[in-house]
């Protein structure tokens, strides 16, 4: 197991390298630069700016410098937010983004797995079928539709939660964003759990457990859950990607000062270092979550490790 884990961790390095290199060169290919404005700057000032940020160097030199900085944990200066390092900008918003994202992930799995298991147990009941029909809706609807609708219903028509004008530390502002993020993941997890649970419930060892006279709870919890969770765990990686994507939308819909809001504006502004920093931070996060999912997969299903 340890060797398997190590092998997988080493495997991250080339992926990260490809990510850094690709995003570095592709964003430089984009027309325009961070200091292109409607009013052209006097050439001397422009030359000074370019020199100060190292933009006057050949691209390969810039790339080398970026990598060198990266090795020391420095993501460079932001081009648009003067006097801010990218690390500072991202660090200021990341705690909030992580809180929302993690809360959403936990909520999604805590809600999705039991609902799916229950729907598999009572597969032919009307309630379970209705639930699964509704879950289709949850899977299909994107955060930018669900978010505003939830805000409209629960923030304005029936104001039980707060929307807009975020006050740090007040959880009433975070409920709707977390639900918005969790909804598609919870719905998908419920569907996955139901499908795999139905499969598991048909197997011989479950029949034996039933024949022994075990109750529903004991069968589901002690016997069926672990094998049924395998596809759910492998969904963990994509789920995190889903939540990261959603957080971009959710932060802008609900006006939260997370770090997601930087990405889009930075891409439009050609704030090279900020875009790269965002991609790296979120990219590493996604890769690590994929890795954790794979390791958990190897633990649940030992056959996987041998490949």
């Amino acid at each position: 197991m340890l060797a398997y884990a190590l092998r997988r961790i080493v495997g991250l390095v080339p992926t990260l390298f490809v990510l850094v290199t690709l995003s570095f060169f592709v964003i430089r290919l984009a027309p325009g630069g961070p200091f292109d404005q409607e009013q052209t700057l006097p050439p001397a000032i422009r030359a000074n700016l370019d020199a100060a940020y190292g933009l006057d160097q050949p691209l390969l030199v810039q790339y080398g410098r970026y990598l060198a900085g990266l090795a020391q944990g420095d993501l460079g200066p932001s081009f648009r937010f003067k006097d801010f390092r990218v690390t500072e900008l991202i660090a200021s918003g990341l705690p909030l983004s992580l809180t929302i994202g993690l809360a959403a992930a936990v909520l999604a799995f805590l809600a999705g797995v039991p609902l799916g298991a229950w729907a598999a147990w009572r597969a032919h009941s009307r309630a379970a079928r209705t639930l699964m029909g509704l879950s289709m809706l949850g899977v299909v609807l994107p955060a930018f539709v669900v978010g505003p609708l939830l805000a409209l219903v629960f923030g304005i028509y029936w104001p039980i939660f707060r929307v807009g004008g975020y006050v740090p530390g007040d959880p009433a502002y975070l409920v709707l964003p977390v639900i918005t993020l969790a909804l598609p993941v919870a719905a998908y997890v419920a569907r996955l759990t139901r499908d795999s649970m139905r499969e598991v419930l048909r197997s011989n060892f479950i029949r034996t457990a039933r024949a022994k006279g075990l109750g529903a709870g004991a069968i589901l919890w002690r016997h069926a859950l672990r094998p049924a969770l395998i596809p759910v765990v492998s969904y963990l990686g994509p789920a995190v990607a889903f939540i990261v994507t959603g957080s971009l939308v959710v932060e802008s819909v609900f006006g939260l000062p997370g770090s997601g809001r930087y990405l889009v504006q930075a891409a439009i502004d050609r704030d090279y270092t900020l875009v790269m920093g965002m991609i790296l931070v979120y990219g590493v996060f996604t890769l690590v979550c994929n890795l954790v999912a794979d390791l958990a997969y190897g633990w649940l299903d030992p056959r996987v490790r041998l490949e």
Partner: protein, 269 residues
């Protein structure tokens, strides 16, 4: 044909027909300004069936124009990504060994990145709002799932007798792929292509929601939702109209794709 497939196909057909025929149905164009009715709720008198936006533009006309963009882009980008995905997956699966490992490793790497980043980076490469940019950005991520599925299917087919017979008969590799492998994966491809369309529509709306996609004076369901979300307190129809249209499109395509997948690619769940 299960009732579900039939209903989904019917809804889709009706939506597509409505979107295409809209210019002849409504007297308003998607960019005409009606100064008499600014931010007006849905009404019959002035033929603003879905209401108007802040500038007095008819939401029915804009919604239908946005659906035309979504459908056209959805179909075209899906074709592109299916083409790349099928060729890539079938080649990797059929050749096997190191080539397969290298080709699928690339897919894994791109797959591991959140697609938003790829799409956002790619969309900065082009002038804002160019449909070609949307196309390429979406096509670049859309083919990955297809490549995986086709590779899986091909792996299963490669050792079958009819392939061995074709090899023994002296057929070339491209000929075997084209004549013997493709026809056998086509069912799964059609099913998953139908499931790719709503994803493409979602990508496009998402980018437009962020302001990176379709630009004024044209509308996208995503940009309409974004505008509507800002006005929802005073004029909820501005949010509800595009949200409903997008929801209908997505559910119909997903139901159709899911139904087709169960029929054409069973055992692939």
């Amino acid at each position: 044909m299960t009732p579900r497939i039939r209903i989904a196909a019917f809804v889709l057909g009706a939506l597509a027909l409505l979107a295409l025929a809209a210019p002849w149905i409504t007297p308003w164009s998607h960019e005409a300004l009606d100064w008499e009715h600014l931010a007006a709720p849905p009404q019959l008198e002035a033929s603003h069936w879905f209401g108007t936006d802040r500038l007095g533009r008819d939401l029915f006309a804009r919604g239908m124009q946005a659906m035309r963009v979504s459908l056209a882009l959805g179909l075209l980008a899906t074709l592109v990504s299916v083409g790349i995905g099928v060729a890539w997956g079938a080649t990797a699966g059929y050749l096997g060994g190191r080539v397969d490992a290298a080709m699928m490793r690339l897919v894994d790497i791109v797959y591991a990145l959140p697609y938003v980043f790829i799409v956002i980076i790619l969309s900065t490469l082009f002038p804002r709002g160019s449909l070609a940019a949307l196309f390429i950005a979406i096509g670049a991520v859309g083919w990955l799932t297809m490549a995986r599925i086709v590779r899986g299917q091909t792996l299963g087919l490669r050792n079958r007798e009819f392939v061995a017979a074709a090899i023994a008969g002296g057929a070339s590799t491209p000929a075997i792929l084209w004549r013997h492998i493709f026809p056998n994966v086509i069912g799964a491809v059609i099913a998953y292509a139908t499931l790719t369309i709503p994803q493409v529509i979602l990508f496009e709306s998402f980018l437009s929601f962020l302001g990176l996609g379709v630009q004024e004076p044209y509308a996208s369901l995503g940009s309409l939702i974004n505008e509507g979300a800002q006005e929802m307190e005073s004029s909820p129809w501005m949010l509800l109209v595009p949200a409903t249209l997008l929801t209908l499109l997505l559910i119909a395509f997903n139901s159709l794709g899911d139904g087709l997948r169960r029929r054409l690619a069973p055992g692939d769940d």
